[in-house]
Symmetry: C2
C-alpha cells in the first residue's frame, strides 16, 4: 500500500508538497502538481483516511444509531427507508456512514458517549429509540451533534426531524367523520413513543371539531405490533359493538385489526372502516387495501442528515424539521350506514 512518502520519494519532493498538491492547495507549482498526480496514480496511492482524521480531528463520518435493527423491521421497513435517505444524503455530501445498533444488553456495557466517541463519528442520527431509553438523557447532555428521529427534543447540539403526526391523525379521523362515523375507536402504539401521544392528540382534536365527545375507553394500545393489535381490536370491538370505524396508529396494527375484524365476521369496509398510518408496502396489497396516512420515511432520513451536516459545518439555522403527511384513500373505508 503506497503511502504519501512513497509518492514523495518518487517525485523527489517532500511529503508536504505531495499533501498540498493532492489536496488542491494553490501554493504549489502546476507542473509539480501534475507530476505528483501522475505518480500517485502510478503507485495507486490513496490517502490513509485514518491518519488524516487523526491529525485533522475530522472524520467526515456520521453514525446512524438504531435501536433494534431487527428482522421484524422488515414488515414496516421504517428503518430501511430512513437508512436509504441517510445514506443518499450522506453520500451526496461526502460523509461516510457507520451503522451502530444497540439493544438494552449492549447499553449495559457502554454509555452513549463511549459508543459514539470511540467510533469517531462527528455526529449521529438516532432512530428507533423510545422516550424512556436511558440513552436519551445522555444524548441531551452530551455535546455530540445529534439529530433525533421522531422525538421532538432540542438542545444546543441536538435537533430532530419528525412527521406532523397530529395533523396526519387528525385528517385520518376527519375522513372517518366525514363518512358519517360517530363511534370511532383508536388502536394506538404505546406511551413510550412521542408519535403515539401526537396521534392521539390529532384524534381528539378531530372529534372535538365535529363536536363529538372523547371516550377514553375507545382507545387501546397495540404496542405497534400486529398481533397485539389484533387481540386488542378483538377485545375492543367485543366491548364496544357500536364502533363503526377504527383509526390505527400504524398500518401494521391496521393489518392486525383487519384480521381481528374478519375473524369476528365483520364485513370490511361495509361494517367497519379502518384507517392506518404510515403507508407501508403491505397497505396497498392487503384485502381490503388500506386507507392510510402516508409518511415519508426516506425523507425523514434525508432531512435528518441534512440538519446534522448543517450543524457539523457550523451553518446556523433551524435544528428541526417537521414533514407533512399525505392522505391516501383506498378500500378499507366507506360511508357509515348505521
Amino acid at each position: 500500500m503506497a503511502t504519501i512518502r512513497d509518492v514523495a520519494k518518487r517525485a523527489g519532493v517532500s511529503v508536504t508538497t505531495v499533501s498540498r498538491a493532492l489536496n488542491g492547495y494553490s501554493d504549489v507549482n502546476e507542473k509539480t502538481r501534475e507530476r505528483i498526480k501522475e505518480i500517485a496514480k502510478e503507485l495507486k496511492y490513496s490517502p490513509n483516511l485514518l491518519a488524516r482524521s487523526l491529525v485533522m480531528k475530522k472524520t467526515k463520518t456520521i453514525g446512524l444509531l438504531v435501536s433494534g435493527l431487527k428482522i421484524e423491521g422488515s414488515k414496516d421497513n421504517f428503518t430501511y427507508e430512513v437508512l436509504c435517505g441517510v445514506n443518499d444524503c450522506a453520500g451526496q455530501l461526502g460523509y461516510e456512514l457507520v451503522l451502530i445498533s444497540t439493544d438494552s444488553q449492549k447499553q449495559q456495557e457502554k454509555t452513549y458517549n463511549q459508543l459514539v466517541q470511540e467510533r469517531k463519528v462527528e455526529g449521529i442520527i438516532l432512530q428507533g429509540i423510545k422516550t424512556d431509553d436511558p440513552y436519551l438523557e445522555e444524548v441531551l447532555k452530551s455535546d455530540i451533534p445529534c439529530i433525533l428521529i421522531d422525538i421532538p427534543m432540542e438542545s444546543d447540539s441536538v435537533g430532530y426531524v419528525t412527521t406532523d403526526n397530529k395533523d396526519g391523525a387528525k385528517s385520518a379521523v376527519t375522513h372517518l367523520l366525514d363518512l358519517g362515523h360517530k363511534h370511532i375507536g383508536m388502536i394506538n402504539g404505546h406511551s413510550q413513543a412521542f408519535v403515539s401521544q401526537e396521534r392521539l392528540d390529532g384524534y381528539q382534536e378531530a372529534l372535538q371539531e365535529k363536536g363529538i365527545a372523547f371516550n377514553g375507553s375507545y382507545v387501546v394500545d397495540g404496542a405497534f405490533l400486529e398481533e397485539k393489535a389484533e387481540t386488542e381490536t378483538a377485545k375492543l370491538l367485543q366491548k364496544h359493538p357500536e364502533l363503526t370505524a377504527l383509526f390505527c396508529a400504524s398500518d401494521l396494527m391496521a393489518m392486525g385489526a383487519i384480521r381481528a375484524a374478519k375473524k369476528m365476521g365483520r364485513k370490511l369496509p361495509e361494517e367497519l372502516s379502518i384507517v392506518g398510518f404510515d403507508n407501508i408496502i403491505l397497505s396497498a396489497y392487503s384485502t381490503p387495501s388500506l386507507t392510510t396516512i402516508a409518511q415519508d420515511r426516506y425523507q425523514l432520513g434525508f432531512e435528518a442528515t441534512k440538519l446534522l451536516t448543517d450543524m457539523l459545518e457550523g451553518n446556523k439555522g433551524s435544528k428541526r424539521k417537521v414533514l407533512n403527511t399525505t392522505f391516501i384513500k383506498r378500500e378499507s373505508t366507506s360511508e357509515n350506514h348505521n
Copy 2:
C-alpha cells in the same frame, strides 16, 4: 476528550503502562491496573480507535458494499435482511460495520480498490452486484478479503455465500408437476444474475425428471421487477393459453404475474397456479397468498460475515456456504383439472 496521556499523568505512570493496563496485559501490577482503570473511568477515557488502528494496522471494521441501496428495495427487503444478519454477526464478533453504497455513477469516480482501501475496512461483503459489474473483476484480482452474496466465485481472498437456487426452483416446479400441471411457464429474472441461471436449471431438471420436454418459449425474463413481470406474464399467457401454472423467480414478480392473470380474468389458483421464490413479507398478505420457496436472507448476511471474519482471522476453512431453501405451501397453487 481525555486521552491516554491524561490518564497517565493523573495516575503518575507512563502512557505505556496505561496502555498495557487497559488492554489486559499480564505484565502489570494488579494494583496499578486497578488504579488506572479507576482513573480512566473518572476521566471518561475511551481510546481513540483511529490512533489505535493507525499503529496496529487493524481496524476491526468490515464494509458492506451495496449496489443500489434504494427505496425500491423496500418491496423485497432483501438488502435490509442481509444487513440485519451482517450487523448481528459483526456485532457479536466485535467488528464495526460501515455501509458503502455505489451506483454506476460513483463507480466512474473511484475504483473498487480505492473505495475499499481508503475506508480501511479489513474485509468486505458485496451485495446486489450483477455479474457484469466492472467491480466484480476488480474484486477477484484484489487481495482484499471479500465475500460475495449470490455470486458463486472464488479466489484466494474471495468467497461466497448463496442459496441453493437450483434445488429450490426444482422443488417449486416439482410441486406444480405433482399437482398435475403439464404446461408450466417460468418468469425468470435476468441474465446478469447467477441466481436466474440456477433457477432455470432447477426448472429444467424438474421437468426432465418427470419426462416433460423443455419448451424455451415458456420462459421469459421479468427483470425481477413487478411491472415488467406483469406485462411479460400477460404476453406469455396470451401466446400460450395452454399454460396452467407459472414458476416465478421472485415473489415480487409473482405479484406482477398475479395481477396480470387477474386482469385477464383467470381465476387463481383454479385456472392458474403460481409459485414464487423468496418468501417476502408480501407473499403472505397477497390474495391469493403465495406458495413460494423461502430463502433465508438474514442467514445469508450472517454467514457471509462469519466467513469473512474467519478469513480475516486466518482460520483456514471453506470460503463458501450454500444455504437450503424451504418450500411453503399457500393458496396460489392447486391441482390441475384440465
